[in-house]
């Protein structure tokens, strides 16, 4: 596997690794929404002290809007209230396949962190998101050396 060369690759890898850790293999679609919600809440907790809850809300609203353009079965309108939006999202995901849930969850988190990176850069995004997000990148970067 090639070494990650973009911030988005690193963030995608971090999302997958974290979900893999929390859900485990073969857990099926049922556990995925909760796992995504947990990862999302962890991300929000990490960012809120720095950019404020309002800052997180604004980015989340935009990320949900952009994600809904790709997955037309998602609610196209979002609530100002982040909790309400999440509840609607969870309800939507409840009847979907594991692949769909995984795709939506990953896209939403990637879009959200992408918006953040667009504002403050990949480097600072990595610092703000904390060790879990950068761990994926460093592990990935070590892999080719081990293979070599």
């Amino acid at each position: 596997m090639a070494m990650t060369d973009t911030g988005e690759d690193a963030r995608r890898l971090a999302i997958r690794k974290t979900l893999h850790r929390s859900v485990g293999t073969g857990s099926g679609a049922a556990a995925l929404p909760a796992a995504f919600l947990a990862l999302w809440q962890q991300t929000a907790r990490q960012l809120e002290p720095v950019i404020g809850a309002r800052g997180v809300d604004v980015l989340f609203g935009r990320a949900l809007h952009l994600t809904a353009q790709r997955f037309l079965w998602l609610p196209s309108t979002t609530h100002d209230n982040r909790t309400a939006s999440l509840e609607v999202l969870q309800t939507c995901l409840a009847g979907r396949s594991a692949a769909e849930v995984s795709d939506v969850g990953e896209t939403l988190l990637l879009t959200f962190t992408g918006l953040l990176a667009g504002m403050v850069g990949e480097s600072l995004t990595g610092r703000l998101l904390g060790a879990d997000w950068t761990a994926g990148e460093s592990q990935e970067q070590e892999q080719p050396r081990r293979q070599a």
Binding site: P49, V50, G52, G55, M119, V120, L124, R127
Partner: protein, 501 residues
């Protein structure tokens, strides 16, 4: 036993700031950085923070209302001092916007307290503090609550052994607010726009426990952040014998000018450490004289620095100057900028003098200099010149300044700035009409405390060099523009010096 406390001063890392603060920032001081929007408060705070913060001396940056944290982080990281790698360990950003949204003043203070207790930061920044107060006022908080809040915050932050900064959009430091009384340090930033130039200024209004540099200082914001240009201070004569000792450069040694016969006209060369004003109309040969002065210095092993103010690319420097600059024997400061402060130019000049270990300095010309200085400073140009000459004099360099002189024959002027008194020596160049032709003449008007020739000598420019000829005899009223034949009388010599052959 000495029981007085020693206040440690922190080096801020902002070039020039420590100098105007009086040696750095007192540790555990409670400082207010005030100024209107866009004056550089957040940039200054961030630069100080990244300059001082380490994992052992962590910083906490609390953002309130005003600039959203995301925007602040986006724009501040454009500065080279912004070190992403230090965020987390050495620098923590915390948003108080949620607490502010509640309108509960005590909650804001409690959150600040909680954050400070949790991480024991050595540096705390609250941006923007003005927003805290305004929001509290809007929410109906009594003024007593505000005073209490400010004082509580000040006292608590000091007690937590933190050096603290409150950033506020105060337009006038005379505003009646307790924060001005409570603060140990007051830094006022402002920017003024005049015509098409913008000038940034900083003033240390208060810094308890140390002597600050008085007055207003200019600063510039570049990709590297803020750089302050402390005003050149002209020290009072204390009357102490030690202070009255002559500058080491003024040792009686005289410098050759690189123009044959001019040294003799000056009474044996230009005294070392002196400042010389060369005044003359356009094209009379002032820059050539200045170039010869620098070239002679190079020949004698004395590096030089030239400050040029060409306003158009067509006004290129002479090949002789180009050659010396390329060879590294002289330094060149050439600016076409039109928003400089005298302090900024002097700062760059002094820096180059020290780097080059220069002994000779040329400023060509005062006219260009005045154009390069932002309009805001032109009113004080003469005073600024005085400070510049004093600053250069204290370095012991010998300075040659050229000045455009309007050829008015109704009066005898040596400088359009009334700045002739600032320099120790004056050489004037003029055009005269003889036999329906223009000729150049040169005279030494003044050499302080020294005999010199008082002759008016004709000179020509031959192959890019000044060649001084014989005195103009047989005419009177040369400088008045109406020369008339006169009987050939022996010319006088200033202070009894003999005429030259």
């Amino acid at each position: 036993m000495n029981q007085t406390v020693t206040i440690r001063r922190l080096a801020t890392g902002v070039p020039g700031l420590d100098a105007i603060l009086g040696g750095g920032l007192p540790e555990f001081s409670f400082n207010l950085i005030s100024g209107p929007p866009g004056s550089g408060k957040t940039t200054l705070a961030h630069q100080i923070m990244f300059g001082l913060a380490t994992p052992e001396r962590p910083a906490l940056f609390l953002t309130v209302l005003g600039e959203p944290p995301l925007k602040m982080l986006r724009y501040q990281q454009q500065f080279s001092f912004f070190d992403t790698a230090r965020i987390g360990d050495a620098v923590r950003f915390v948003s108080l916007s949620d607490e502010m949204a509640t309108g509960d003043f005590e909650q804001v203070l409690a959150r600040i307290t909680q954050e400070v207790r949790a991480t024991s930061p050595a540096l705390v920044f609250v941006d923007s503090f003005r927003a805290v107060l305004l929001d509290a006022a809007r929410s109906g908080a009594r003024s007593g609550d505000l005073h209490h809040f400010v004082q509580q915050l000040g006292v608590q932050l000091s007690a937590w052994q933190a050096t603290t900064f409150l950033l506020g959009e105060y337009h006038s430091p005379t505003e009646d607010h307790p924060v001005f009384t409570v603060a140990d340090g007051l830094l006022a930033l402002r920017q003024s726009v005049h015509r098409n130039s913008m000038v940034r200024q900083i003033q240390v209004l208060k810094m308890r426990g140390q002597a600050t540099s008085p007055g207003v200082h200019t600063f510039r914001i570049t990709g590297a952040g803020i750089e302050v240009f402390p005003s050149a201070i002209v020290r009072d004569d204390s009357g102490n014998a030690a202070d009255r000792s002559p500058s080491p450069a003024r040792d009686g040694h005289r410098l050759a000018m690189g123009v044959p016969l001019l040294d003799a006209m000056l009474g044996g060369g230009l005294p070392s450490g002196f400042s010389l004003l060369v005044a003359g109309p356009s094209g009379s040969g002032k820059t050539l004289l200045a170039t010869a002065f620098l070239a002679e210095g190079v020949r004698c092993g004395e590096p030089g620095v030239m400050v040029a103010f060409e306003q158009t690319p067509s006004q290129s420097l002479s090949p002789a100057i180009d050659d010396m600059v390329r060879a590294g024997t002289i330094g060149l400061i050439n600016t076409r900028s039109m928003d400089l402060s005298m302090d900024e130019i002097v700062h760059h000049l002094i820096g180059m003098i020290r780097r080059m270990q220069a002994r000779r300095v040329v400023i060509d010309s005062l006219s260009g200099f005045e154009l390069a200085v932002a309009p805001t400073f032109r009113e004080d140009f003469r005073e600024s010149l005085f400070r510049m000459v004093a600053a250069l004099s204290s370095l012991g360099v010998t300075v040659l300044v050229t000045s455009e002189l309007e050829d008015r024959y109704t009066d005898l002027r040596f400088s359009p700035y009334g700045s002739a008194f600032l320099t120790d020596a004056i050489v004037v160049q003029r055009y005269i009409e003889i036999n329906s032709g223009l000729a150049r003449v040169m005279a030494v008007v003044k050499v302080r405390d020294s005999a010199h020739s008082s002759e008016i000598r004709q000179f020509t420019i031959t192959a890019g060099r000044i060649v001084i000829g014989s005195p103009v005899r047989g005419y009177e009223g040369l400088l008045g523009g109406s020369p008339q034949h006169a009987p050939d009388r022996p010319h006088g010599t200033a202070r009894g010096k003999e005429d030259l052959p």
